[in-house]
Subunit: 345 residues, 2 copies
């Protein structure tokens, strides 16, 4: 199994096209575990193995559903739950800490067949935010719920409620302390150009944000997308990023594609990233590869942002572009092709 | 003045095109005060007059800024503040009540020149949410803040903080009691088809949601958009609608147009309404009239939603389509054209 795991890098390009045959049983699952300053030089073999295992477990969960005729929505939810439960990723258990030392979680999910969507923002007591987002979509007349209200809804719907201490991890706590120390440095050296340069470098070399996401095409031709995150380390003022924003961090439309984003959320919101990709395909007739490359490799950088996305279109084509050093990512398809990657090709 | 007010309906169509001259001093201000079941048969002359006055006051505030060479952003903020301070409109003072008897306010603003944006959701203590949204855009590295955190930020930025009781209005309180009575009816008669039909009719005939919004083109060719709301009467679970969502309720891009939406927010989120209009112009080369008509008169209804939007493009063209019985709306331009309307043409 382990041997298999590290040798299944079957394809060189991160943009892989299906042969255009008429296999109606075709299905595809794509995942990400965040994009950022992920450098091989800073990674230990053990850590690399742990991430690869984590991504593989998630892929397998979704694949098991799709291969048995399950829906894209069910696969997306189940896959993201596995990533949320894994402390390596910044979502659910393993979420980063806010400035106040809390874990505030955001998630969203969308059904490409109906354009129905659900999202939660700033929840602190639900074990799996993606499941609450799904419940918002399926069991309420709303799309987005936030804070205590969303938690009440989650409890009412029978979602697993946990004590906020469930989300504590030593590593994320240390990241918060480090960020706070940087804040103090900033306050002291606010006016010196030297300090600014130093802090800018520190900021860039830190992996401050992360997200998990999944997109799927099921054997009925339906698309779905979902995203979940703990946001940014040391975030203040109830900041909400792009992950729970339909159109920004998540979008799915059977007529175009399903998308989940990761990166510096503010830029993804301003660009309305996921819907822009979908619109480029629908309105400018770009391929998904063209549309995602244009948005991630050009528009995002032009605005000063960084990050990446995963996407699958109605024909099963996959795109996983990013403009950062790395992005935890992988896919698995009905013809048993599987790839798990961390760094640039 | 009053006479002027009621006779300035200068233009028959709600889609008005500027003559394409090269007047670089051209500026345009467009506002809305919500769309919904606004029927002339249910309106008193006094109430109609009050709404018209309210819209006129708001237009005048923005016009005064634009005519003196002020920016679109400043005009949008000032105009929306006037609407927020007017208890007739569902934003700021006059906001509807949540199920818990609170007033939870959402707002967003966007700068078409830089694609910078700011938004707040679920705030209960800031007098003018649009001003906090502006501060989020101008004074933070974030785009969206929610709840207590956003209120802390507002206080830190010197925004006017009020006791939540400031937002109480008798009329909105009565609307909440009425909605709660409907809820009880629903609980009792949940399973009878007759009761369902009755309640559906009640729902449709009630004006359950409202919003205020403003879009502007200044004499420098810059566009801006803003939206503010109290959400839906009797809303539960920290529900967030489209108003604070960049791309859904608000969007501005100098290369296309500035948009502010109003209506059943969930549908506007799922369609990513404002960005879709902008993308139709940019990618499918539709005129603003074509793009807004397609999204409001076709796509919105097809999904089962209702509402409207206001838009101004870089050439100063105006669109104000809606698929409801009415929409409080108006505009004022550099060539002193002014129109205020409530019902369908």
């Amino acid at each position: 199994m382990k041997h298999l795991l590290y040798t299944i890098v079957l394809l060189i390009s991160s943009n892989y096209s299906f042969a255009q045959n008429d296999n109606s049983k075709k299905f595809v699952l794509v995942i990400h575990g965040g994009a950022g300053t992920i450098l091989k030089s800073e990674m230990t073999p053990e850590r690399e193995k742990a991430y690869t295992h984590g991504l593989n477990d998630a892929l397998q969960a979704g694949y098991n559903i799709l291969s048995k005729g399950g829906t894209a929505l069910d696969a997306v939810e189940a896959t993201i739950k596995v990533l949320e439960d894994n402390p390596l990723f910044n979502a659910g258990k393993g979420a980063v800490f806010t400035n106040e030392g809390k874990n505030e979680l955001d998630a969203s999910i969308m059904d490409g067949k109906t354009l129905k969507a659900g999202a939660v923002a700033g929840v602190t007591t639900v074990k799996n935010p993606i499941t609450v987002a799904r419940a918002v979509m399926d069991k309420s007349s709303h799309v987005m719920m936030a804070g205590k209200g969303a938690e009440q809804f989650a409890a009412q719907q029978g979602c697993t409620i946990v004590d906020p201490s469930y989300f504590f991890t030593e590593e994320r706590w240390k990241s918060l302390l480090k960020e706070k120390a940087n804040d103090s440095l900033k306050a002291i050296h606010n006016d010196t150009a030297k300090a600014k340069t130093f802090l800018k470098q520190k900021e860039n070399s830190d992996y401050k944000y992360g997200t998990v996401g999944c997109v799927a095409l099921d054997m009925y031709g339906n698309l779905a997308a979902g995203t979940s995150t703990g946001g940014m380390t040391n975030k203040k003022f109830g900041r909400i990023g792009d992950s729970p924003i339909i159109g920004a961090g998540t979008y799915a439309d059977n007529s175009t594609c399903a998308i989940s984003c990761t990166g510096y959320g503010e830029y993804f919101i301003r660009l309305v990233m996921a819907k822009s990709v979908s619109d480029r395909m629908e309105l400018a007739h770009e391929t998904m590869k063209q549309a995602t490359n244009e948005m991630i490799m050009h528009k995002l950088g032009e605005l000063g942002g960084d990050g990446g996305l995963i996407a699958v279109d109605k024909n099963g084509n996959i795109a996983m572009p990013f403009n950062t050093a790395g992005m935890y990512r992988g896919y698995m398809t009905s013809d048993v092709k599987k790839e798990i990657k961390i760094y640039k090709d």
